[in-house]
């Protein structure tokens, strides 16, 4: 995966209303972020996930704001892609970030989401990283999610069933021996 080609994929899948493809791209970008230690992939993942959620909602897609949002997002993403292709990474990253803020702006102004779409996307990314071996601190810091919220999100999944090392009896005994 490289950023410029991933952004191209994002543009195509968003324009083509490919919800499944967007979710897949989001997952792949989250993994890439962890492997490459590159936060730009986190933002790409967030945008892809958020776009899939926006496209799910007919009331958003049918809103007066949608066409202008879609045009602006595609333009920003294209500019970001061109910047990365030209080796202008700072500008590319800034434009990617602006794209993410545009998505957030639309979702808060007309969306009926309980929590911020961007925050929710970051939690999913953080949980993915946690599942792949990152500590809570690394997962929270890298995904840009709050540790407390991520802790709770992870706590609501079955992920925690995989990490047993000692039995409860042994652990309790260890605690009592310290007293």
């Amino acid at each position: 995966m490289d950023l410029a080609s991933d952004i191209k994929t994002l543009e195509e899948r968003f324009a083509g209303k490919d919800l499944v493809g967007l979710r897949q791209l989001s997952s792949e970008a989250a993994i890439e972020a962890f492997l490459k230690n590159d936060s730009s992939f986190v933002e790409l993942s967030v945008i892809a996930y958020s776009c899939s959620k926006l496209l799910e909602k007919q009331y958003i897609v049918n809103s007066p704001e949608w066409n202008s949002f879609k045009e602006s997002l595609l333009r920003l993403l294209a500019q970001s892609r061109v910047s990365f292709n030209e080796g202008n990474f700072e500008r590319g990253k800034a434009l990617l970030h602006n794209s993410m803020m545009l998505v957030e702006s639309l979702s808060t102004s007309i969306g009926r989401f309980v929590n911020s779409l961007i925050s929710k996307a970051r939690l999913k990314i953080g949980a993915d990283m946690y599942a792949r071996g990152a500590s809570l601190g690394v997962a929270a810091s890298f995904s840009g999610s709050d540790k407390k919220d991520l802790n709770e999100y992870i706590g609501s999944t079955k992920m925690l069933d995989k990490y047993v090392t000692l039995s409860v009896k042994q652990r309790l005994q260890n605690a009592k021996e310290a007293v």
């Binding site: 990152a134 500590s135 540790k147 407390k148 069933d161 990490y163 000692l166 652990r171 007293v179």
Partner: protein
């Protein structure tokens, strides 16, 4: 007084599940001395105090700090120890030839602290730090199931096994169980066992890395 180094993950689980009072209780009943390194204080108090949606949790933890239930400590070697631990832990696993960053500096600082102050217990709810110290091969196995091209520097496991051998690791759930045995839930009278079980589930919901099977084990032990 047994020294207990506390990671941010456990303090967050306890605070979010409204069980932070267990620290003061155990300090009084068992003489536990709960300590945190400076980075954990920043994480759980200093930074979140400025964010309205997180500030209540931070205020509760600051109250524990102000009351002397939690103490911030450091050591002259802490910076260097933290650096060494970060270098070692974040060059253990490689995927597609790139090192995977698995430990954050806050977690590394806790590990550095318990080594340098000879703590008896390390209170940590998050799973990577715990597995690294108790069973790095298990951590490897978990990571192999998630990465298709994992390379491991197994010779570095000894560094962490040696560190892990110097301290016993507990979670907020074990702290809760100890507190139960000392009467923390006695006010609930005939419902005290149910209160313990509920508190343990609530800790899991708040992110404590305890499995469903372990929760069942707890229910059997404290029936």
């Amino acid at each position: 007084m047994p020294l207990v180094v506390c990671d941010a993950s456990s303090l967050i689980s306890l605070s979010e599940s409204c069980n932070i009072g267990v620290l003061a209780f155990l300090k009084e009943k068992l003489g536990f001395n709960f300590v945190i390194p400076p980075s954990v204080k920043d994480e759980i108090i200093s930074h979140p105090l400025h964010v309205k949606s997180f500030s209540f949790s931070a205020v509760r933890l600051r109250k524990a700090l102000d009351a002397g239930v939690l103490t911030v400590i450091s050591s002259p070697t802490l910076v260097q120890e933290t650096k060494t631990i970060m270098n070692e832990s974040n060059s253990l696993f490689f995927s597609h030839h790139k090192p995977l960053k698995i430990i954050h500096d806050g977690e590394a600082q806790c590990m550095g602290l318990f080594s340098s102050v000879s703590a008896k217990l390390f209170l940590v709810d998050e799973k990577t730090t715990r597995m690294l110290l108790e069973d790095p091969f298990k951590l490897e196995s978990v990571m192999r199931s998630e990465h298709d091209d994992l390379k491991v520097e197994e010779k570095k496991f000894d560094f962490f096994k040696k560190m892990g051998s110097r301290v016993k690791i507990i979670r907020s759930t074990e702290l809760m169980a100890l507190a139960f045995e000392k009467g923390f839930f006695d006010d609930y009278k005939e419902n005290k066992v149910f209160a313990l079980h509920s508190a343990l589930y609530s800790l899991r919901k708040s992110g404590c890395s305890i499995s469903s099977l372990e929760l069942d084990q707890y229910e059997s032990i404290y029936a």
